[in-house]
């Protein structure tokens, strides 16, 4: 076993190259507000610019095939890249791009050659930002019951419906959208996925008013929107996987969204909290010397370590093409619930300074306050904590008569 990437001489040279390159290409103006809603268009432009630069080097989707605009690099190269970008507090891509991550992977598995040529290079080179559109007012956990209708009309489909909890602030270029392609067909045989250009007539985006715009993508999304489709005409070419074949595409999409992609790197919130407790005195002593606080901090640390290892395991399983069963939803479930427990511990240790982002009286530059909100919101994206457990049970082989298989991941 080896829990660290094995770096060859060539990869160490690659790390040096990446470091040098990031030094020259990561703008010093990129900042990290606690609540991504406070991150304005300037920050977004800086991040998109970095994304394009990474993309042109093949470093945005390092392991994706070169013929589609990826880097064609090894897993260990990708790890080097993620580690180096992580040291700037950034992710790859450095902005919210759920549709690129999940739609790109789905097209890799289910798209036609022409569709791959059309969509993947734009995504992999960072030329476009893509949102995913699944949830509807009446289709949350039961995502297969979406009602947004896509009806064939000549060489086009006409799309009508409403999606919620969509995307981010500042718009997107493509909408990776799950629709119903047949009102009469049985469940799971009536769906279709479309890559929809966001500038088509009939699309309206309206921000939602939420506790906080959480997400599992790693990059703050700023806000979430309601998206209305009113007789939107989409070329039939943009239907991925075929009419009424959307559920099989969804299995790939959902597999990744449920945590099977894995993740490397640690939870910086734990470091921030340790740091805060070392520097904050109560009764003349640092909080870290209070036995109750130490106990709480260690509980948090242990859960964060387990979450890190689950993510690392999934990352390795995905990239080594090891057969996954329940591991994706397990990581997602554990992350959600340990995050919620962490927010309780933070409130317990910090008291009311965890409840304000006031510049003078809020703890940790507002990061503690935003965590109090985002830990709650994080329970639902990518499938609720309960849904993760339902999927785990099916994969373990106790939830249904036939044991469910994991979705294909290219």
């Amino acid at each position: 076993m080896d829990f660290e990437p094995r770096y060859t001489q060539e990869q160490e040279e690659f790390r040096q190259e990446v470091r040098e390159w990031l030094k020259d290409n990561v703008s010093p103006d990129i900042s990290h507000p606690a609540d991504s809603a406070k991150s304005g268009p300037e920050q977004y432009d800086l991040r998109r610019d970095l994304g394009r630069r990474l993309g042109s080097k093949g470093w945005l989707w390092a392991t994706a095939p070169e013929e589609y605009g990826g880097g064609g690099l090894s897993l260990d190269h990708a790890v080097v890249l993620e580690e180096e970008v992580d040291s700037y507090g950034l992710t790859i891509p450095p902005y919210y791009d759920s549709g690129g991550r999940l739609g790109g992977a789905s097209i890799m598995v289910w798209g036609s050659e022409e569709q791959k040529q059309e969509f993947l290079p734009k995504i992999f080179r960072g030329e476009v930002r893509t949102w995913q559109l699944l949830t509807e007012p009446e289709a949350g956990s039961d995502v297969a019951s979406v009602k947004t209708r896509a009806e064939r009309n000549g060489d086009e489909y006409v799309i009508n419906g409403q999606k919620v909890f969509v995307g981010s602030d500042l718009g997107c270029d493509y909408m990776w959208t799950l629709t119903c392609t047949d009102n009469e067909a049985p469940r799971h045989q009536n769906l279709g996925w479309f890559m929809i250009p966001a500038d088509l007539p009939g699309i309206t985006v309206q921000p939602m008013d939420l506790l906080i715009a959480g997400g599992e993508s790693g990059a703050g999304s700023g806000v979430k929107n309601t998206v209305y489709f009113d007789n939107v005409r989409v070329p039939a070419f943009n239907l991925v996987g075929g009419e009424n074949e959307g559920w099989k595409v969804a299995t790939t999409h959902l597999e990744l969204e449920h945590g099977s992609g894995g993740r490397i790197g640690r939870n910086w919130m734990v470091d921030n909290l340790f740091d805060y407790c070392r520097k904050t005195n109560r009764r003349g002593e640092p909080l870290t010397k209070d036995p109750d606080v130490r106990d709480r901090l260690i509980d948090i640390y242990m859960e964060a370590e387990v979450a890190r290892l689950f993510n690392l395991r999934n990352y390795w399983m995905r990239h080594s093409k090891t057969n996954l069963t329940y591991e994706g939803p397990q990581a997602s479930y554990f992350r959600k619930m340990s995050g919620l427990r962490m927010s309780t511990a933070i409130l317990d240790i910090l008291g009311p300074s965890a409840l304000t982002h006031d510049e003078t009286w809020g703890a940790g530059n507002g990061h503690m306050e935003s965590h109090q909100r985002s830990a709650i919101v994080a329970i639902h994206p990518g499938g609720t904590a309960d849904i993760q457990k339902v999927i785990m049970a099916r994969r373990i082989g106790i939830g249904r008569e036939v044991r469910e298989r994991a979705g294909a991941l290219a």
Binding site: M1, D76, F274, E305, L309, Y326, Q330
Partner: protein
């Protein structure tokens, strides 16, 4: 990065699994638990003959010189039983203590004998003031003419009933040092009394006017013995954790199987989300134990600083085994409490391994210290 076992480790895993299935079926384990006669026994003798007890002992001292991960793979399979006997206590903990603090002569005398299973050297550390701190060691080693005289009462000693020799933590005559003395279990003045109840192979060890040869003092002096024990414990915890991982895995598989086959209200109980919750909690505990353990084993093999991981693995792993058994009992209900079913073998083991080499609470505190909190 590669989280797979090597082909050699996979072969070892399946060899050990086959051996355990053959030699330690449930009825044998139940009989051993009932009689307390796990050692000596025919399965134990065969286990010793495989040479696996020497897996961590260097080749120059008659062992196999395997890696921590090799040993973890092997002990994970023993944990599935759970196979009783002084495999961890003697061939891992005592062996490491001797490697850390023994003289060359002692290493040459003791390690090959431990590897061959001829000597079962079981650590006897804790006393009436139960803890794993040297301050709570009150047993004394006094000079006695040409020999050393040991007096004291060791309590809650794991595996003592199987011992041919006891590795006793003792205080020096002047009270300043705590070290280790190897005491033949058949010496006059040594008595071992099993502690009945829910413990797993726990015993009281009385040492009254016990004379031992000075060559049996580890490293030739009481001073330094305790640090050898602490080093031994640090090296043993990841192996103990691997044993717990195998145990959790067995408990998990047992529970999944039961929830698939037990029918109530006309359906397998695994279809009920209430029951699924227990299975999911169980597998989360299992995997938390598995990956904290194997990362620690890897760190040991790679020569990385592993102190934080060792405390993390013990705190997570012992909690996991304990909780895994609790969830399994929720799945199994009445059937789980029937001795003949076999779950209670694990439940009993999980309770004793919870405290063995320090409770999760202790290791959480040590982890906080290690992280500089």
């Amino acid at each position: 990065m590669d989280l797979a076992l090597t082909p050699e480790q996979e072969m070892l895993k399946s060899a050990v699994r086959g051996f355990i299935q053959q030699e330690y079926p449930k009825n044998v384990l139940l009989e051993m638990a009932e009689s307390g006669d796990a050692v000596p026994s025919e399965p134990w003798q065969k286990l010793v003959e495989t040479g696996w007890m020497g897996i961590l002992i260097p080749q120059e001292f008659g062992g196999e010189g395997g890696s921590f991960t090799d040993a973890g793979v092997m002990f994970e399979e023993l944990g599935r039983g759970p196979v009783p006997g002084p495999h961890i206590s003697s061939s891992v903990l005592s062996a490491f203590a001797i490697m850390a603090g023994g003289s060359d002569v002692q290493k040459r005398e003791w390690l090959p004998a431990i590897a061959r299973g001829e000597r079962l050297l079981v650590p006897a550390v804790t006393e009436a003031d139960y803890s794993w701190h040297p301050e709570d060691v009150h047993a004394v080693a006094r000079s006695n003419g040409s020999g050393v005289q040991v007096d004291g009462v060791k309590v809650y000693v794991f595996d003592a009933t199987f011992a041919t020799h006891l590795l006793c933590a003792v205080r020096s005559e002047n009270g300043n040092d705590v070290g280790l003395v190897m005491v033949p279990a058949d010496s006059p003045g040594v008595s071992v009394r099993p502690l009945e109840g829910f413990g797993w192979n726990l015993a009281e060890v009385r040492l009254e006017n016990v004379s031992v040869d000075p060559s049996n003092v580890l490293g030739g002096s009481i001073a330094g013995g305790w640090s050898a024990l602490i080093q031994g414990i640090g090296n043993t915890i990841p192996i103990l954790c691997a044993y717990q991982v195998g145990a959790c895995q067995a408990v998990y598989e047992m529970s999944v199987e039961y929830s698939r086959t037990r029918v109530q209200f006309g359906t397998p109980i695994g279809r009920f989300q209430r029951v699924q919750d227990h299975i999911i909690n169980l597998v989360n505990q299992l995997d938390a134990a598995r990956w904290t353990t194997y990362e620690t084993l890897w760190k040991m093999d790679a020569g990385r600083e592993a102190t934080d991981s060792i405390h993390l693995a013990k705190a997570v792993g012992s909690t996991a085994y304990h909780e895994a058994c609790n969830f399994a009992h929720e799945v199994h209900a009445g059937v789980g409490s029937m001795t003949e079913y076999g779950l209670t073998l694990h439940t009993a083991a999980s309770r004793t391994l919870y405290h063995y080499l320090g409770e999760p609470r202790v290791h959480k505190r040590l982890l906080a210290d290690t992280l500089g909190l």
